[in-house]
């Protein structure tokens, strides 16, 4: 399993009406890596992630996950997707949210219960599980959202800006969780527009105006362009000014 490709995009294009949002993009993500997608807002990161999650339909090109063609009902079960919006029912409690979403993946009984406790533990929300989500802080909602994405033990996790609007301490704790998940053998795709977060990824794709302008590990990207920081790499490839 180790060197197989988890995500393979071949000439993937997405257009809304006459505007092309993703231009003929190809990309490979390997098993077990934390893969970052870096780029300014509006670059097309969310659209790419949504296509991989099976929510948005590509206009052309091929998308394969675990060597199987998407979209597919079976593949959906292997993906955990955390969107920019929390996607939680605010008038339900934390545990009620988990119960509902786990039922959507057909989980039930003892297995469901154990799994809910596991993810609550992982995101450190066990003490707050009976609280109504409306009363959660922003960071708690983000963490519960992550917990929901992890519920059904996906092999691939897609996180769209998981740390946006979150304080540095919490951001660190989310990254620690991502490392834990990586150790368990999960593949993680994470988008960000924060340059210093890009350094934490195993490999990185730089996205700009609907196209990938560079791919590689943070170190090799810096080396190739003789840059000190990821920001310089981005400027080198993109030419333009970076507006996070």
């Amino acid at each position: 399993m180790d060197n197989t490709m988890v995500i393979e995009l071949t000439d993937l294009t997405k257009a809304f009406g006459s505007t092309t949002v993703i231009k003929k993009t190809s990309l490979e993500v390997q098993n077990g890596e934390i893969f970052g997608m870096l780029g300014p807002s509006g670059a097309g990161k969310t659209t790419l992630v949504k296509m991989i999650a099976g929510i948005e339909k590509p206009t052309s090109g091929e998308l394969r996950l675990f060597n199987k063609k998407m979209p597919s009902h079976r593949l959906i079960r292997q993906i955990g997707y955390m969107a920019q919006t929390d996607g939680l029912y605010h008038d339900l409690t934390g545990i009620e949210n988990l119960k509902f979403f786990s039922a959507m993946y057909g989980m039930k009984g003892k297995k469901q219960k154990e799994r809910m406790e596991e993810v609550l533990e992982l995101v450190d929300l066990t003490a707050y599980k009976q609280k109504v989500v409306r009363n959660y802080s922003g960071g708690m909602k983000r963490r519960l959202s992550l917990a929901v994405a992890l519920l059904h033990e996906p092999k691939l996790i897609l996180l769209d800006e998981p740390t946006v609007g979150i304080d540095p301490v919490l951001r660190q704790s989310i990254w620690n969780e991502l490392y834990k998940l990586k150790e368990k053998g999960m593949t993680i795709l994470v988008t960000t527009h924060v340059m210093d977060e890009a350094d934490k990824c195993d490999r990185l794709a730089m996205v700009r105006e609907g196209a990938i302008i560079a791919v590689g590990s943070p170190d090799s990207l810096k080396e190739e362009t003789k840059s000190e920081t990821i920001e310089e790499v981005f400027l080198y490839h993109g030419g333009g000014k970076y507006e996070g």
């Binding site: 999650a53 929510i55 948005e56 597919s72 969107a83 939680l88």
Partner: protein
Amino acid sequence: MRVKAITVRIIKQFFHDKRTLAMMLVAPLLILTIISLVFNGEDSVPSIGIEQVPEPVKELLKEQKITVSEMDQGDAEQKFREGSLDAWITLEDNQPRIVLEGSDPGTNQMVLNIVQQAIQSPGQKIKPDVEYFYGTEGMTSFDNFGPVLIGFFAFFFVFLIAGVSFLRERTGGTLERLMGSPVKKSEIVIGYLLGFGFFTLIQSTLIVIYSIYVLDLLMIGDFIWVLAVTLLCAFTALSLGTLLSTYAHNELQIIQFIPIVIVPQVFFSGLFDLEAISDWVSWIGPITPLYYAADALRDVMIRGLGFEEIAINLAVLFGFSLLFSAANILALRKYRSF
């Protein structure tokens, strides 16, 4: 200066939200037009059947603004059931006998007045025997439009609540999360129907019981059919509400569906005399769900009819729910690639 800035901002916002602007300008005109069509239409002309009525009285009746035709009692009763006759008059032992269709107190009174005028000869006081085919003498206007209101309220509240809650599913990102899970689109729509159906059942039961036992609304038929119609009516509202919420960006825009979707139905569902509505808009009634719900509720509550007579209405309401649900499943395709 700040006042000016606020004023300009509000005007600009209106121009950016064209739908709200249109609603504010066009909706009142639309509703006024409907009202004028409903109230300025032709006067409804009662249709009366006669048998063995003396020639002079017949002549006097024909001078009135009514349609008169000869028929026997059997024919008349058949026409009452079809709803195409308002009264039947005959003479038995020199005593006039009037059988009223009876479900609309307004029409009853109108027919009685006309007949009284026709049979009254000077110096002689004739009191006709009056019978009611449906309803009773003591029937009030509320008894007549109450059944329509029951259907209306079930429809109105379910439409709003379902619309808003499905909208929240979209704006809150939970719909996206659901679409990323293996759940089927039809499962979402059916789940919504059942979940809301639970509360709809409680609501319908409460409305019906309260109207009948507390407000003393006339109730001749079977409780179970009133409940069945109300429930199906609410299901239609539920499926239509969730479907239309796809075309709303926020709660305000759900509210804006009221003058477009709800108000016209009220005017064409029989709360006002349908026969008086101008001919060129009378086709609107039969394409609205509330029309069928109101008709069936009146059939059961005032006329005491059972399943056979309301089966078509129930089927139409069911068809509406099915149609809207199917459209909703199609509309959800926008949110998923498979």
